[in-house]
């Protein structure tokens, strides 16, 4: 498998097409947060909305334009974190960051399992310029969660 094929694994190609969570619908959940992120190298962008139910990331919806890596990565993360706790999503994020920094190698421990489909992005780590693409959605997710949490707290106080 060439580096290029390692980068564009079938899993990634599939995610780039099916795009889980694509479509910015209204979320009717206790705490909703949104984030808009731009990859300034290329102008790619994503708007991502997250709905929390207590500590659970109940729903992720997004709209974006970008390369197959960025689109597939958002799709994969949507699948990974929906229905899981904020803490778990944070762990997956940390594992994904570690993978990106690993220069094309699997992490070689149980984090590889935790990453599920996102593990297929391993090949991106060989291309520093593309790591930003793979992380764009994650930036949006974490920022949106922070906003949702802030909104939730405010909701409680004022609600």
């Amino acid at each position: 498998m060439s580096s290029l094929e390692q980068m564009y694994q079938q899993v990634i190609m599939d995610h780039a097409k099916s795009r889980h969570g694509a479509g910015l619908v209204q979320l009717d959940l206790p705490a909703v947060g949104e984030s808009h992120q731009v990859n300034t190298t290329c102008g790619d962008e994503v708007t991502l909305r997250v709905g929390l139910d207590g500590d659970t990331v109940s729903s992720v919806r997004w709209e974006g334009q970008g390369c197959s890596i960025s689109q597939a990565s958002i799709s994969a993360l949507t699948e990974l974190v929906e229905g899981h706790s904020i803490e778990e999503s944070e762990e997956v994020y940390e594992a994904f960051r570690a993978l990106m920094g690993n220069r094309g190698e699997d992490l070689g421990d149980d984090r590889d399992d935790m990453l599920g489909d996102a593990g297929a992005f391993v090949g991106v780590g060989k291309y520093p310029a593309r790591i930003k693409c793979a992380l764009l959605g994650w930036m949006a997710l974490r920022d949106a969660i922070a906003h949702a949490q802030a909104a939730g707290v405010e909701g409680e106080t004022h609600g």
Binding site: S3, C42, S68, C133
Partner: protein, 422 residues
Amino acid sequence: MLPDLRDDFPLLARSVRNGKSLAYLDSGATAQRPHAVLNAMDEFDRLHNGAVARGAHLLAEEATEAFEGARGSVARLVNAASPEEIVWTSNATAALNLVANGIGNASAGQGGAASSLFRVGPGDSIVVTQAEHHANLIPWQQLAARTGATLRWIEVDDLGRHRLEQLGSVIDETTKVVAFTHASNVTGVVSDVAAFVARAREVGALTVLDACQSVPHIPVDVQALGVDFAAFSGHKMLGPTGIGALWGRKSLLDVLPPSVFGGGAIMTVTLEETTWHPAPTRFEAGTQPVTQAVGMGAAAEYLMALGMEDVAEHERRIARIIREGVSEIPGVRLLGPVGDAHDVLGIATVAVDGVHTHDVGQVLDDLGVAVRVGHHCAQPLHKRFGVTGSTRASAHVYTTEEDAERFLAGLASVREFFGVPA
């Protein structure tokens, strides 16, 4: 006709991904440097480095001579009236900002009556074009914001050519500055400078030419063009990074207020007050990019030895191959004039249906073909073409037909790789 020059450029001998030889088609972003340039800089640093125009010693003398000699070489390349019309800057962006910020300072009253010809303010307009690189757009946008002047622009047609019929209406008696590119870094289209200059003169506006993509590739005679200022970079004309140049008419440069202040640029300084030198010194505050000037001078000499007519002819030939080739690849759209256009440089920029430019670039990179992806610092033009990004192949003196063929073959394989239906 140019001989094969690849051996002059050490970097082109290296191999890239998968042990592939390098097809370097990113010269529009930054060019490679010939031995002649690298050796001139290395020799300067190893033998002649000293403080220019300051020390009283032999090295200072030799360094000053090398530095001013380089100014002369660059002056000759663009046919400046004298070396004093060349101001060293850190890149073309800085050169364009030097003019815009100088006008800003004049508008705020600096330079007094002598500089009043540069004043702009509410009611005045500054004109740019839709084809501009951000470097020749944002400084004017900011100048307009700062002075209360209005920014206007000349649009381009579907092929990226300026709509010259707008010159008469967009440029009017309120226009103080017309800033436009000599050649687009996206489409490669060469502007009709004479038309711009003629209209600007009618209304008494200053003309500022972004010559970043022209000086390295075609004969440029600033006096014949009739503009007032022209900016270009060392690193795109086979010279080093860290240097650029502003050419300007001496009579204008001498009264344009500086906007970067420091040692060397001033006549006398008290704690209260300062008086400036004439150009170019007034703009060259602090220690100058001396080694880089030597490199840029060597690059100018290298290009002049090749002959700019031959350089242009060579690159036009490469462009023809690429431009004709891409038009035969299904799902690939060329931004700018299609086929063998007479007014287009060695640049071909494409959008691939259904494949993002990053992904296109990645496939080409894997094949050893280096191109540029993104908006190439020309977002308004991309918006005009209805795309957010594109993939650009750009040639220089060392580009071969084989490079062009490899680009075309790679491009042809992209949509299949990503499984886009034909």
